[in-house]
């Protein structure tokens, strides 16, 4: 009866009033409010991330003069170039070794930090975060002065100690190692702080129970610490790998890709090809080269993280 009366009342309602009521109801929904509040950020991401990314994808499929569509031609062309093969090798070496080293040193530092009493921990934590807080371009300039061919501070010390000066940035392998060292110096703090946060979230009772069962330090790490912070490790490594693959500042400032193109990474090579040499489509192809691989990697890592999260919740 009630429903029937309501239907009758609605039928008698003028269409404009009904539309207003529908709008009011829509605006009162939690999801609508959430969407409206997120809208500025969605527009920002759409305008500053999504649109440039899609435009870069479009550019990468054009010919040099940007007058014809060539599909994946630019990517196939790149694969046949010796210098680009060297860029793939160098980028992979740089990113993978730097991330592994950052993860390793970050893990050790986080453990050391975790075992320092809280009062002193704050100072050390602050000091260790300094490399990560200083703008990378600025700190890399500092490193460049240490390695500089004419005024290298390291060579100054080496000469004083009676050793032969080393052309740090003038020979391929020392230059590559210098790049990796600077990146590790810069990024270890990030790993440390993430791991430290994860370590602090591991319940102390688990370690106490393990100690009662007679577990040693290594067993505690293998069976308690690592499984408990596995998700943080995965996400941190994934994030760092993406950022390190896209690194520009360190190589640009230290070697500009030299000697003999041996230290170029995707970003610096893309800049040289696209902006400096006037081949914007090929530059876009270089910069997007790793995108599919990293996307697949990110998908699997994040899927595992979600799965483990659900398992832990159960």
């Amino acid at each position: 009866m009630v429903d029937g009366t309501r239907e009758l009342a609605m039928a008698a309602e003028p269409p404009r009033a009904a539309a207003c009521r529908r709008w009011r109801r829509l605006l009162h929904r939690r999801s609508t409010v959430a969407l409206l509040m997120c809208l500025p950020m969605i527009l920002l991401i759409g305008g500053l991330v999504l649109y440039p990314a899609l435009y870069a994808l479009y550019l990468s499929m054009l010919n040099r003069r940007m007058t014809a569509f060539v599909g994946l031609g630019n990517f196939l062309f790149l694969l046949h170039r010796l210098t680009f093969q060297q860029v793939i090798f160098q980028s992979s070496l740089f990113a993978i070794s730097a991330v592994l080293l950052k993860a390793f040193f970050g893990f050790i530092l986080a453990h050391l930090m975790h075992n320092i009493p809280n009062r002193h921990q704050r100072i050390w934590r602050g000091l260790l975060l300094v490399p990560w807080v200083i703008p990378l371009a600025l700190s890399t300039l500092g490193w460049w002065w240490l390695f500089d061919p004419s005024y290298s501070a390291f060579n100054y010390v080496l000469k004083d100690l009676g050793f032969t000066p080393v052309p740090w940035l003038g020979v391929a392998w020392p230059a590559r190692l210098c790049m990796i060292a600077v990146n590790v110096w810069f990024g270890t703090s990030f790993f440390m702080i993430m791991y430290l946060a994860a370590l602090k979230s591991v319940p102390e009772q688990l370690y106490e129970a393990a100690a009662i069962d007679g577990a040693g330090a290594i067993q505690k790490m293998l069976y308690i610490t690592l499984p408990m912070i596995r998700n943080i490790i995965s996400v941190t490594v994934l994030y760092s790998l993406i950022v390190t693959f896209a690194n520009f500042d360190i190589v640009r400032i230290l070697t500009n890709g030299g000697p003999e193109d041996s230290t170029h990474v995707f970003a610096t090579y893309a800049f040289q090809v696209g902006i400096q040499s006037g081949d914007v489509p090929l530059g876009a192809s270089v910069s997007l080269f790793m995108f599919p691989l990293l996307a697949v990697f990110a998908y699997f890592v994040l899927r595992n993280v979600t799965r483990r999260g659900k398992e832990m919740a159960v």
Partner: protein
């Protein structure tokens, strides 16, 4: 309701006011519109001041408001902005293009034939390299400019070259008009002997083998003087030629005497090598000397500028050319062209050249006689042979020429020639180096 009808009295008032308007109109600097332009941010700041003064004078005379921005070449700021403007189809009306940037943006530029035709009657034609870069299908697409232009000849330490290598560069290239006594003897073979002697004396020549402009320029003038073209004017790969082989055989001997870190040189490394007293000779415009006069006065007073050595095919001086172009999308093309024409006149160019202590090199042969190069000190006359004098028997050159500019720009910016020399320094054979270059050049031919 208020009436909107126009009464006779009101119409009369409006008519009188409209007639009187031109009589009371105040002519402002922007009366004839406005124009925006990007200038190269001069290394010597006095250059910017002189430019601003000239722009203000033109603005006042023509009643056009000018918005002038000075963008730095540091970190490629000027190049990045220019690419963004080309892609967006919006931005300044006129722009300063570095060497290879004008040919890269030909499709976006307004032809400047009218300006160049008028300039030909007042200041004459520019050098061949300017035409190579800024002329397309018979049309001038940009106007060669002195602002930012430079030549990269030799800067040598007078005392070290004399003591270690027996070269009296002040006597070879005196600061006086007429034939230089040492010009014919100054060959790449002579440079090789001097490089060996100075290297043994612990003061090697600071010639870079990196992938930056200075390295490309010095390698480019070496290759050109042997007639070695990696890609010819038709766009064909010519790396497997006798001339290239001869140039590489010579380079193989030269690189032994260059510093161990020459492969890691950037554009400032050679300057620092000279200023710090480590190098006896570099290839550079007078910027290194200008800094040395302040930071290391003894070194500055011991520097002498002279042309590069000659090879079997002649003497080539690396030229960094700048251009002023007007975008097709510019809103005030007439004013932009007029401003560029005004700034290109001899009087204006000489004033700016003097302000930059002779650093800015005009690309017009008719302007090689400015007094600033004879007057600058210390030592007196050090810059006299910085411009190309007729008796130097030299010509301006750009590393990558005569290949079509779309290919030349890649050879230059990716340092193909210095990398070939760097590979020789690391012990690779000439055959391997040629093979590598061929693969690299094939990639540059992509349409």
């Amino acid at each position: 309701m208020r009436s909107t009808t126009l009464s006779r009295r009101r119409a009369l008032k409006l008519g009188v006011a409209a007639t009187a308007l031109p009589l009371v109109h105040i002519r402002t600097a922007g009366a004839a519109g406005s124009v925006s332009i990007v200038f190269f941010d001069a290394w010597v700041q006095a250059g910017n001041t002189a430019m601003k003064k000239q722009v203000a004078a033109w603005s006042e005379k023509n009643k056009v408001e000018v918005k002038a921005d000075f963008l730095s070449t540091a970190n490629n700021q000027i190049v990045i902005t220019e690419n963004a403007e080309a892609q967006a189809g919006a931005g300044h009306d006129a722009y300063s293009f570095a060497t290879w940037e004008a040919p890269t943006h030909l499709d976006y530029l307004e032809p400047m034939d009218d300006v160049m035709a008028r300039l030909a009657t007042t200041i004459g034609p520019p050098n061949d390299m300017a035409a190579y870069l800024a002329k397309s299908k018979g049309h001038w697409m940009a106007v060669p400019s002195s602002s930012g232009g430079q030549l990269k000849g030799c800067v040598g330490r007078i005392s070290i070259l004399k003591q270690a290598a027996g070269l009296d560069v002040m006597e070879m290239f005196p600061a006086a008009p007429g034939a230089s006594p040492g010009v014919d003897g100054w060959t790449w073979e002579a440079l090789l002997k001097a490089a060996e002697a100075c290297s043994k004396a612990g003061k090697p020549f600071g010639i870079g083998l990196g992938t930056t402009g200075d390295s490309s320029d010095s390698a480019g003038c070496l290759f050109a003087s042997f007639g070695a073209e990696l890609v010819n004017a038709k766009g064909e790969i010519a790396v497997r030629s006798d001339a290239v082989r001869q140039a590489l055989e010579y380079a193989q001997r030269l690189v032994k005497f260059l510093p161990p870190n020459a492969v890691g040189y950037d554009d400032a490394s050679n300057n620092r090598a000279l200023i710090s007293g480590q190098a006896a000779l570099i290839f550079n415009p007078p910027s290194a000397w200008a800094v040395a006069t302040h930071d290391a006065p003894a070194v500055g007073a011991d520097c002498w500028h002279f042309p590069p050595p000659a090879g079997p095919k002649g003497r080539f001086v690396s030229a960094v050319e700048y251009f002023w172009g007007v975008w097709k999308f510019a809103r005030n093309k007439t004013a932009a062209k007029d401003l560029i024409e005004y700034l290109s006149q001899r009087e204006q160019v000489e004033e700016r050249c003097a302000a930059t202590m002779g650093y800015d090199m005009p690309p017009y042969p008719s302007m090689m006689d400015f007094n600033v190069w004879a007057d600058e000190t210390p030592p007196k006359g050090t810059l006299y042979n910085y411009p190309i004098r007729p008796w130097h028997k030299a010509e301006a050159h750009i590393s990558g020429a005569p290949a079509p500019p779309a290919i030349g720009v890649q050879m230059y910016n990716r340092g193909t020639m210095p990398t070939m020399m760097a590979k020789l320094k690391s012990g690779e054979s000439i055959a391997n180096v040629v093979g590598w270059a061929e693969n690299e050049l094939e990639g540059f031919l992509r349409g």
